[in-house]
């Protein structure tokens, strides 16, 4: 089920909230868990059993890996077995088809026929909830969090519907206390509604509008395009991706707040970054933190000097690229970012800061969007052709016939006029003029509460009307 669907808005959400708030606070985990399982089963009914069974296994493993419970070697063994189960399932479901296809290519080189293989269907959200499972096991193993009080509570942490399918990746120690005890107030609920509406607007009004252009350009044969068309398509995709993913994260954070959860932020004006390192502190923050805490630091982080730091960064970005998808384009995308961040490290922060900030922001943006070509292209061959058109290395074709019509779409220009300046607001410190999330929503001035509510409702009505008039409306990050 997707948040931006009528089924979610007018059936699932009211039913869930009604039952949730009619249940006494101490029992609210039960409706939250049941709703989450229904939410997951709606899109992937078969895999809900896999999810429950593996969560059950993780929960029982976690009880034995608490520091001091067993000798360290046995704790390590249990942790390794549990991680192998979770990561093994991820590898199987996400990468088996890819490795089989590669094997077929190798067999073909030797003139051998491909072996039979039935395509594996990817369970929705597996990349995200597998990382949460890893977070739970490692946190308990390290002693940074206690094991969940019950198997149900552990399952709720993994399956909680706002963040189940496309994040943010919530680390266990960040929400362990909230799973046990959380307060819900009308102020926090309205704050969540506001955040949900902002996310919905990003998705329905901005991402979907940019998608029309991006899809038209990227679905065409690259050599049919002209260089300016390719650049327009790339820019459109860059803002589509940002609005789509940030919109989903906003909705997840908002829904969480309605139910009393406070998830960490996932985006912070990433296109305003003045370097690749900064970009990764602002883009998909929860993934960056996860990688830092559960991969980069265990690999040694920056403790072993320059070369080892760069090697570790490379490994992290390679893993991050591969995590995004079973395709060479994602591996190349990871390598691209690994290379950029290594160069940045080699040049050094002091030298880079001598360059004026606007220049660094522009250069970072250019580097990032060049990486998005790999992210969006269906294969490396397509990406390579697209790059050649972008840089005028190949002459290009007559151009997309519908391009003038696309550019005449005034809704596209309106979306661009709003989204682009807002995306760069932090680069020029204009973000301080934008409304920030209050620490205590109950302390907001009543006028602000009323304004945010009216605007939220307006967005919901208009977005619902847009959804009624259009077809299926998936999020980009659902595929990962």
């Amino acid at each position: 089920m997707v948040f931006s669907s009528l089924t979610f808005l007018f059936c699932f959400l009211p039913a869930t909230l009604l039952v949730y708030f009619l249940t006494p606070p101490r029992w609210r985990n039960i409706p939250a868990l049941l709703a989450s399982l229904v939410f997951f089963a709606w899109g992937a009914p078969k895999f809900v059993f896999v999810l429950i069974a593996t969560c059950f296994a993780d929960y029982h493993a976690s009880r034995w890996i608490v520091p001091g419970r067993l000798p360290p070697s046995r704790r390590r063994g249990i942790l390794a077995a549990a991680l192998a189960l979770d990561l093994g399932l991820l590898l199987f479901f996400k990468y088996a088809n890819f490795f089989v296809a590669q094997s077929w290519d190798i067999l073909e080189l030797f003139g051998l026929p491909p072996f039979p293989w039935k395509t594996i269907v990817l369970p929705i959200g597996i990349s995200f909830f597998t990382f949460q499972k890893v977070s739970y096991l490692v946190d308990v193993y390290r002693g940074t969090a206690q094991p969940a009080h019950s198997a149900g509570r552990h399952l709720l942490y993994i399956a909680l519907f706002p963040q189940l399918i496309a994040g943010p990746i919530v680390r266990y120690h960040d929400v362990a206390l909230q799973l046990a005890n959380r307060s819900t107030t009308s102020g926090l609920f309205l704050d969540g509604l506001w955040r949900f509406a902002i996310g919905l607007a990003k998705k329905v009004f901005f991402a979907n509008t940019f998608a029309r252009v991006a899809n038209a350009i990227f679905d065409a044969q690259p050599f049919d395009l002209t260089s300016p068309q390719a650049w327009v398509g790339l820019l459109a995709y860059s803002f589509q991706l940002y609005c789509d993913f940030a919109g989903y994260s906003d909705m997840a954070i908002g829904l969480g707040r309605m139910m009393g959860f406070r998830f960490l932020e996932n985006f912070d004006f990433p296109y305003s970054s003045a370097g690749i390192g900064e970009f990764w502190r602002r883009w998909h923050i929860s993934l960056g933190r996860f990688m830092m805490e559960y991969l980069y630091v265990p690999l040694g982080g920056n403790r072993g000097g320059g070369h080892k730091t760069i090697r570790n960064l490379w490994l992290v970005f390679l893993a991050s690229g591969f995590w995004h998808g079973a395709n060479w384009t994602f591996v190349l995308w990871g390598i691209w970012h690994g290379t950029l961040i290594s160069i940045e490290k080699l040049i050094g922060k002091e030298r880079l800061e001598r360059i004026p900030r606007p220049v660094r922001v522009a250069a970072t943006f250019l580097m990032v969007i060049l990486g998005w070509v790999l992210f969006r292209s269906k294969d490396a061959h397509h990406a390579s052709r697209f790059y050649r058109i972008l840089f005028g290395i190949h002459e290009g074709g007559a151009g997309l016939a519908t391009f003038p019509e696309i550019l005449c779409d005034s809704s596209l220009w309106l979306a661009a006029a709003i989204a682009i300046p807002l995306s760069f607001a932090a680069a020029f410190r204009l973000d301080r003029f934008l409304p920030r999330d209050p620490e205590d929503p109950d302390a907001l001035p009543p006028r602000s509460v009323l304004f945010r509510f009216v605007l939220s409702l307006l967005i919901l009505v208009v977005a619902a009307s847009e959804l009624s008039a259009s077809g299926f409306n998936p999020f980009i990050y659902f595929q990962f």
Binding site: S5, P45, F453
Partner: protein, 424 residues
Amino acid sequence: MPQPPSIPRRFLQALLVAVFAAFLLLPAFQKATGIPPRKRLGGITNKIREFPQWAPKSWLDGSYARTMDTWIAEQIGIRGWLVNLNRQIRYSCFGQVEGAPLRKRALVLGKPPVLYENLLMTDALRPPQIPAEQMDNYAFNLARMQRLLREQGKAFLVVVAPNKALIYTNSLPAWAEGRVSDAHSDYRPFVDALRRHNVPCLDSMELFRELAPEYPGLVPAHGIHWGHHGAWVVWQRAIPLLNQQGVLPEIPVLETVELIEDKPAGMSDELRGQLNLFASPYSAPVPCLYPVAAPPPAETEGMLDVLVVGDSFGFGMVDALARSRLCRNVYYWFYMQSGKAAHPAAYDSREKRGLSSIVSIGAMPSTDENGRRMLEGKNLVLLVVTTFNIDKFSWGFDRLVNRLYGNPDDNPPLYQPGEVNLGD
């Protein structure tokens, strides 16, 4: 430690939460009470009518969820209002129109109140689609078909239906002005090829251009097809062309006794119906003309048994044939995919505006057996074809006639027929 909110503040927040809950529950409330009443949408058909039945298999393979999503999207009681709101916002803010959900860009806004259909507009803007050699082969086939039908005692006429965008150029949107041309369509090469091969043909495009200054509503402002008056004029002009063939006894050309102006009906109003807007300069219905035909001489009443083969312009053609009371039976082979019939001998155009007696025979694929049934007993065959359907090459009717009445081995020069377009 944050201060607990004051009582008025808590009351305000609770009130806002209640309003939000009411919004979420609006569809359920509508379903229970029927308030607000459902708003009908034009130009859509629902894919799923029955509430989806749950079954373990359909649930496990995900098809239940997909069906349920579609059912909810289609059956939600406030859908009509939401779609209208969306259309109105897009129209008012961005000048965009979309015919119906999931039918992108079916409509084109002309100068108010005229609306165009996108398919026909595209046809008027695009370069010709059919190579000259193929067009010539097609005309050759139609000429042979006419000869074969004539040998069976059947008169034959090709009626080229009008493309509104090529006729009413003064009402085109600014972006299309000066860009539409006969040269951008297959219409002109088609008519030229028919004339070269002596295929009897009525060019309604030329006819409507000639009459447009006097009768601007031959294709109604909100219609795609010819209106009742337009189709009637075409039939009046077709009769002399049929008489010239000498296959049938002399058919009288009936005069128009009166033109009644009245509210538009059915196909004359179909584009306006698809706007799904609350308000616009296109929203008011534009009255149409309904011809009253002079009664035919008694001995000619019901003298014709007609088969109309064609696209959706055929509906108007059947109406005109009925209006004349010259036909005993009219069969209509819609895209050579479904059959329709009318028995209009007693039809009185003064009493009724629309032809209500056309009935569906059901699906009728273009097999030889169906062809034999449809042609049996007919003494007149009309092929009605729109400019953008020329590349469908009469949906195979010319080849079917050759198989039935000609020498099946006498293969005509080959051409590649296009796909059947059932969109209009």
